[in-house]
Symmetry: C2
Subunit: 318 residues, 2 copies
């Protein structure tokens, strides 16, 4: 982070007309925004949301409650303004961009082969970097891709260990025998690729998908571009966690908007040392949890920049 | 609540393009808004915030980290736009009104006499009812009043039992011996007035203050006016809790915006069976926690009203 901007924020904070610490996390978020935007005061005036979409070979294994065709159907729904993320972006003043990544070419079934070839992975990662480099003062990331909780669970298992059951949850609504089958797919994927992978990004290539690769790329691009990032739920956070596994501190410019009901998310958050801003039982993806948290960051910046000091307001200090 | 509006919301919810339940609490909030607004679809387009301010006789007992003069100084700060609540209302599109209640006449020291005479109590309560009756589709309530965590703690102790220490917290920043002294004041107030009080509203008169009475009045007025309410932290919720103690269900049209760091708040929330929408370590009052939560309610209404159905979007259902 930018030390000068963060120091300026830290100097201003205790002069504002409130008891010390009374704005709680809004105070620390203002300092975090200043540091990672490299600007004092920080601002949240041009937030963007990017939703990356991809298709997954493992969808053919019956790991989702919805057919694979729903990915492209939902991308059309995003483009026509009918999905939850459209309403959330409009309500919260966030610009939305949807990036469909080769939907006609699903990844390979990762129980049989790496999900992506190196060139495919790099193309998706680069598409993410380009999004991260676009102008914005805050970037929300999210995804759409039938079967991608399966990818995220396999990736998390490969990166952080434990059992397949630890990381496998209902996703869009898989229960009972289908959930057990999903955990078997997750276990098979991790077992196949962990021994052969060269590092955490290679695991992302082998077990992830194009939208997961793009999210990791966008996190990197935003860091280079001094844009703080709001991560979404399990899939988005698992994709970003590959960067953390590669380089601790790689996600210091990221917060997590919402703690998903998908059980693997809390486990990833614990691993990353992240505490989500919201906990409202969402489990939708689409960046819905990230965008729902944007007003909290806007509030933090607004209080920090706009409040009067004790001296300006003629209020007696404690 | 309006059963027809709530039923219409309940019928629409499962048709929207998302897995069932995937918007979590946003789904139940949409139904709650529809029921208490008596309208389908619900909307959050004209939210208001009212901050009531009052002065307290017990401030002379040294229970606050700030002098009593800060109440009127902060009201001026609100009027000039310099306080946290001004920034939060502006950032979240909430209209703000500040109602100063006889600041030149503090309540009586409740360890010696009832805080308010009956006529004073009714005037303050009525000022709140009038605010609740004004046009709005959502009403955030909050307060300012040096020493009013002491009033709120005494009221909560009188209403719900336990020990003075259970309900007494640092407020603006009281610790150590001063905190023990504050708990003694709380205990003395409850001990004096519980035996003499006729009911929960009489306890509110004896131990509360004008801003607490007005909050209770505003909750009642909003109910009559079909305006759902967002309560703030410990003081605001304790004042409203007097209505709950009088008539269970009296707060069914209320949610709590934020779980305060003031320890008594969580205890009141448990008593009321309320789960706050946010948990960001705030402990400021001024309706800051209520207004910070408004975008969540706006998001709930926006998703419910604006999302396409599976049929409209041509998305395959599970």
């Amino acid at each position: 982070p930018d030390q000068a901007a963060q120091a300026a924020a830290a100097a201003r904070e205790p002069t504002l007309t409130k008891p010390p610490g009374a704005l709680g996390r809004l105070e620390s978020l203002a300092l975090w925004l200043a540091g990672w935007q490299g600007r004092h005061p920080p601002q949240v005036e041009t937030p963007r949301c990017v939703v990356f979409a991809g298709n997954h070979g493992v969808a053919a294994l019956g790991v989702s409650a919805f057919p694979a065709a729903v990915t492209v159907q939902m991308v059309l729904n995003f483009e026509r303004g009918g999905a939850a993320i459209n309403q959330l972006c409009r309500a919260n003043g966030v610009a939305l961009e949807v990036v469909a990544l080769d939907l006609d070419t699903p990844t390979a079934d990762f129980t049989q082969a790496p999900a992506l070839e190196e060139a495919e992975f790099l193309a998706a990662f680069r598409a993410g970097v380009e999004q991260g480099l676009r102008p914005a003062d805050l970037l929300c990331l999210g995804e759409m891709g039938i079967a991608n909780t399966t990818s995220a669970a396999a990736l998390a298992l490969a990166l952080f260990g434990g059992t397949a059951e630890d990381w496998t949850g209902p996703g869009t609504g898989v229960h009972g025998a289908a959930l057990s089958r999903k955990a078997e797919v997750v276990a098979a994927g991790a077992a196949r690729h962990v021994p052969e992978a060269s590092d955490a990004l290679d695991l992302l290539r082998r077990l992830g998908g194009r939208e997961l690769a793009a999210i990791a790329g966008a996190v990197v691009g935003a860091r280079l571009n001094r844009v703080p990032v709001v991560l979404d739920g399990f899939i988005c956070t698992a994709a970003a966690a590959a960067l953390h596994a590669l380089v601790p501190g790689a996600l210091d410019h990221c917060v997590v908007g919402h703690a998903s009901q998908e059980p693997g998310h809390r486990r990833v958050l614990d691993t990353l040392g992240q505490q989500a801003l919201l906990d409202l039982d969402l489990r939708l993806g689409e960046a819905s949890g990230a965008v729902t948290a944007v007003p909290i960051l806007r509030a933090a910046a607004a209080c920090h920049a706009g409040m009067a000091t004790f001296a300006e307001a003629g209020v007696s200090d404690a």
